[in-house]
């Protein structure tokens, strides 16, 4: 690792001193604090909302209901919810916003919420597990049902077959910062201090809802306190905050309470998947059949395209996939770290581990036997793929081959080992950036990108410094404001490749401009001699057909994806059904890594997310109402420090992908979180011989629910 590759993040001093400002840290003069009132039941019709007691609460200024709200204009994606709340008397999930309390203080707004009485006629809710199944609407962004070859005969030909169902419970993003929007109207123009992963998504949606011109909406978002998908699309609370600010003609701060977060900004849905694998005796796959059913809302649609995982990971001659939706009275899901292959690999990689066991083949060898040298569906070459190297290096770092020689017991802990493949498609978004090269030898990047903690600011500064040949301390970046040049979103593991490429392209244009000014590379000399205070260039990362989005290299001569191998060592206390992580190694093929330090942090975080998903995270729906059983962090577990050993090793295979981006990079953000669950389940099986196909793997699943005393 070179010194330059270990750069500390540029915004870190702000964050360790508390100076970094997040959306809810803004309180313009005259701000009213807002708290949502949620629907009190999973389904029904409001017959009346009694606001008298709330209005009697000292400090409460107004309670807005559907009657007070404007009729919102039709919104389209990237709105996450198309059937906006506060428009009619029907509600379709517990907690759906039915009123908004505005008060001079947080205390008054919260007390006002508790005092609002919502009268309603209850309807019988469609409960989880009892909803109807339907094919998702088409066209789908991802998750098309496909058939390659003849899956039926491929299954029949196999000497060994696996046919299993895999389940994962719903879980929420649980970002530490709950979503917040501070809305202020001045002279008909709207400013939003917002907590988002793509502020460019916000103006068109809010403008459509409120009948405004999108150009009259400015979104400011210097720091976002974790997104993980929950702040990607535009959610109703952002529209509601803006509408309320327009009604009361005062700034409105709507900082969602943790409770509200569970029903206002999506989650990863409950999924049932069925995998059928067949293979020859020597471990060659003859067919993969993958079906996925994801839970979904009544009125809004989110498809969790888990079957994507099976389309491109292994070189099977026959592949068939099918997606289903199961609707019930619950809020709509949304992408969550890691979507798509995240759930998909839980099923596929678990089945591969079961197949390896059935074949008595090392699970790593089974993956190598079925390595997809070209993209299986299209037969296109990969833009770049170093998965074989990742398997090899991961296995070496972990000591996979020698695992059976090591001790299997440590006090009460029985030790087990497991592995899986990681993969995530390559999402690419069109992106722009402006770079100003100044006569004093400094450069400034301007791009409406975001800081959600993925290290993008640092990475972009590094790219510019490297392209322009400047010392890193001479490069700065302005971000998080829609007044800056539009750029890509910070989701879908796409920002480094997209905005990073735009920065690089702008810098290359600046170098061309410098070249036209004269010989040499020193901007101070060249700009000084030309009498120019600065030169400016815009970079644009574009996609085939001028599309805003490209998945997996569609429409190009190359298929694109990212890969890795995850190896884990777990300890099981069989008397308690407890499982603890002891160490992990992840090795990845993800293109060029721009800044190793922040990249390692991101992959480590991904593995920990995978650990949380595997062993504790779940948002349970009460079986009789369908409502979320817990909307807090005291009854919903995410990993804490004590769960996570320091012995987590990250390795990136040396790689430069010239096709995926202008800087050799593909995305890494979500890759690390994939495959971990399947590796953990395999390690538990390895340790105690219990095969678990339902996430999260809680103690009672290891003990057996009715285990005798």
């Amino acid at each position: 690792m070179t010194a330059a590759q270990t750069m500390s993040r540029v915004e870190a001093p702000l964050k360790v001193t508390g100076a970094a400002k997040y959306a809810a840290d803004h309180t313009p003069p005259g701000t009213l604090h807002a708290v949502l009132v949620g629907a009190p039941a999973p389904a029904g019709r409001i017959t009346g909302i009694d606001t008298a007691a709330a209005l009697a609460e000292c400090g409460v200024v107004k309670v807005l209901t559907a009657k007070d709200m404007p009729r919102f204009g039709e919104v389209k994606p990237p709105a996450a919810v198309l059937s906006l709340p506060l428009q009619e008397n029907i509600f379709r999930f517990e907690g759906e916003p039915v009123a908004l309390v505005l008060a001079e203080s947080i205390e008054a707004a919260e007390a006002g919420r508790a005092a609002v009485v919502v009268r309603f006629d209850a309807a019988t809710p469609v409960l989880p597990g009892s909803g109807w199944r339907e094919p998702p609407p088409t066209p789908r962004l991802l998750g098309d049902d496909v058939a390659l070859g003849d899956a039926a005969s491929g299954l029949a030909q196999g000497a060994v077959k696996i046919d299993q169902a895999y389940f994962q419970e719903a879980r929420h993003h649980n970002a530490m910062e709950t979503a917040a929007t501070v809305a202020q109207f001045e002279n008909g123009k709207l400013t939003l201090w917002d907590s988002v992963q793509a502020s460019g998504n916000v103006p068109p949606v809010v403008a459509a809802a409120l009948g405004m011109n999108a150009d009259d909406i400015r979104v400011i978002c210097p720091h976002t306190g974790g997104g993980f998908g929950s702040k990607g699309y535009v959610w109703p609370h952002q529209i509601i905050a803006a509408a309320a600010a327009r009604i009361v003609q005062r700034p409105v701060k709507l900082h969602l309470r943790r409770h509200d977060q569970f029903v206002c900004v999506g989650y990863q849905p409950r999924l049932e998947q069925r995998i059928q694998l067949a293979a020859t005796r020597d471990g060659r796959l003859t067919a993969i059949v993958h079906e996925a059913v994801n839970a979904c809302a009544i009125a809004d649609t989110y498809v969790e395209p888990a079957t994507e995982a099976s389309k491109s990971l292994y070189a099977a001659p026959a592949i068939r996939t099918r997606q289903w939706l199961e609707r019930s009275n619950i809020n709509v899901p949304t992408p969550m770290r890691a979507p798509v292959e995240g759930p998909g690999l839980w099923a596929l990689e678990s089945a591969m581990n079961e197949l390896a066991a059935a074949l008595e083949i090392d699970p790593l060898d089974l993956r190598l036997f079925n390595h997809a040298d070209v993209e299986p569906m299209t037969k296109k070459p990969w833009s770049s793929k170093k998965l074989r190297e990742a398997y090899q290096e991961g296995a070496r770092l972990f000591g996979w081959a020698g695992r059976d020689q090591r001790t299997r017991q440590d006090g009460p802990w029985r030790i087990g080992y497991g592995m899986a493949t990681s993969t995530m498609g390559s999402f690419r978004f069109a992106a722009g950036a402006r770079v100003r090269l100044k006569a004093d030898g400094t450069a400034r990047i301007e791009a409406n990108t975001h800081d959600i903690g993925t290290g993008t600011q640092t990475v972009f500064c590094r790219i510019a410094a490297e392209e322009l040949g400047l010392p890193i301390e001479n490069v700065s970046i302005a971000w998080g404001d829609t007044r800056l040049p539009p750029s890509g979103p910070v989701y879908g593991s796409s920002a480094t490749g997209g905005t990073g490429s735009a920065v690089a392209l702008a810098c290359r244009e600046l170098k061309a401009q410098l070249g036209r000014l004269g010989a040499g590379n020193d901007p101070r000399t060249l700009l000084g001699e030309a009498g120019l205070p600065e030169i400016v260039a815009d970079g644009a990362f574009t996609l085939p057909g001028g599309a805003p989005f490209n998945a997996n290299g569609d429409g190009t001569p190359f298929a694109m994806s990212t890969w890795g191998a995850i190896f884990v060592e777990v300890g099981i206390d069989p008397e308690f059904g407890l499982v603890r992580l002891r160490r992990a190694v992840g090795a990845y093929s993800a293109g060029r890594i721009i800044n190793l330090k922040t990249a390692i942090s991101q992959m480590t975080g991904g593995i920990i997310w995978g650990w949380g998903k595997a062993t504790m995270e779940e948002s349970v729906q009460d079986p009789t109402t369908g409502a979320w059983l817990a909307k807090n962090l005291s009854n919903v577990a995410v990993p804490v420090n004590a769960d996570i050993p320091s012995d987590i090793t990250i390795h990136f295979v040396e790689e430069y992908d010239e096709h995926a981006s202008a800087i050799g990079a593909r995305g890494i953000g979500e890759l690390g979180a994939t495959g971990v669950d399947a590796a953990v389940a395999a390690a538990i099986f390895d340790a105690v011989g219990v095969r678990i196909r339902e996430l999260p793997i809680l103690p009672w699943k290891i003990l057996g629910e009715h285990a005798p005393g």
């Binding site: 009190p40 039941a41 999973p42 000292c58 517990e94 205390e107 919260e110 007390a111 508790a114 919502v118 409770h259 009460p412 008397e575 308690f576 059904g577 407890l578 603890r580 062993t615 504790m616 349970v620 009460d622 079986p623 009789t624 109402t625 409502a627 059983l629 817990a630 909307k631 807090n632 005291s634 009854n635 577990a637 990993p639 804490v640 420090n641 004590a642 769960d643 999260p696 809680l698 103690p699 009672w700 003990l703 057996g704 629910e705 009715h706 285990a707 005798p708 005393g709």
Partner: protein
């Protein structure tokens, strides 16, 4: 939370007198009552801050007892050398509760009064489901719902909640008593008798879901008195899927006195299996005179779970409780 009036007092008698006015509640650390007020579990008109309560702020040892003030925080109890020496299981239970930050606020007095972590109960008003503890007469959603974490002893159809306190389990194991002051004077309540199961609450003529302790409305816990037993060794085992900052699925506190490898006396209390710490009195009797060893303990514990009545989803707790009790005994005896 609703607006309330606030006052401070360090005089237990004054606090007890203030509690005579309905709608008055105590705040000490505040780690429970503030959340109750946010959720709608409690809505006091008056909150009396008892920080520095006379007689409740120290740890001391006299001839026969370790005495721990109710106002001492969990971290201070857990790191106190006398507590670690004479009531090791209490120190361990305190330090395995909540987080370092919460333990700097939460007091030992308030801790045993914390309410169940049942997710149905810990929801915000208005509840979308029945809960007899929150709204009497509505029913118990957990009885037929998601009840993996609920009771296997002492429950009724009206309520299947468990008491989640870690220190209470240790205190019950140690035969501790709470010293309580009210207008009627000072009295002691054994921690084994302090909480009611739902069945016990009903037997006492109370609402099985709402009557949770023997404390009267104006009772103020001032101290805990723990009998000193020279040579006694103790341990606490807390089983939880998350390694820290998490409530127990099941916990076990054990204390043993040994003659060589023979058990002179043993005391075992289970946590999170009932709405009170659950002492295994019969198993304790069977252990007397036995060798402290895995097989012997299994024999003694056999049948201890006989009274268990698992719910639809928590049958695993029977085995878990047995295993936790055995581990705690072995740990207490230095064998695990």
């Amino acid at each position: 939370m609703k607006a309330f009036d606030y006052a401070c007092s360090t005089d237990p008698h004054q606090v007890a007198a203030a509690l005579h006015v309905p709608g008055t509640a105590i705040v000490a650390g505040g780690t429970e009552i503030l959340n109750w007020m946010r959720l709608g579990i409690a809505a006091p008109d008056r909150l009396i801050d008892i920080d520095g309560l006379t007689g409740a702020t120290d740890v001391r040892v006299d001839a026969n007892h370790l005495s721990v003030g109710a106002g001492v925080t969990l971290n201070a109890v857990g790191e106190n050398t006398q507590v670690r020496q004479y009531a090791h299981v209490l120190a361990e239970a305190c330090l395995q509760a909540a987080s370092a930050q919460v333990r700097n606020r939460a007091t030992l007095g308030g801790n045993v009064l914390q309410k169940t972590r049942c997710a149905y109960f810990r929801s915000e008003d208005p509840l979308p489901w029945p809960c007899n503890k929150r709204n009497a007469g509505t029913g118990c959603a957990a009885r037929s719902g998601s009840n993996e974490r609920h009771a296997i002893f002492g429950w009724m159809d009206a309520c299947v909640a468990v008491q989640p306190s870690d220190p209470a389990v240790a205190l019950a194991c140690l035969d501790a008593e709470a010293v309580v002051i009210s207008a009627r004077g000072e009295r002691s309540v054994a921690l084994t008798q302090f909480h009611f199961t739902q069945e016990e609450a009903a037997s006492a003529g109370g609402d099985p879901a709402q009557l949770e302790t023997r404390l009267g409305a104006d009772d103020v816990i001032v101290r805990y008195r723990i009998p000193l037993r020279p040579g006694s060794r103790s341990a606490y085992v807390k089983v939880r899927e998350r390694a820290s900052y998490e409530y127990a699925l099941v916990s076990a506190a054990a204390a043993v006195e040994l003659d060589g490898d023979r058990i002179r006396s043993a005391r075992i209390a289970l946590g999170s299996v009932a709405q009170r710490p659950w002492r295994l009195v019969e198993a304790e009797a069977r252990l007397r005179g036995m060798r402290l060893a895995r097989d012997a303990i299994d024999t003694a514990l056999h049948g201890a779970m006989g009274a268990a009545r698992p719910l639809a989803r928590n049958g695993y707790k029977i085995m878990l409780a047995h295993n936790a009790a055995r581990r705690a005994l072995l740990l207490a005896g230095g064998l695990a």
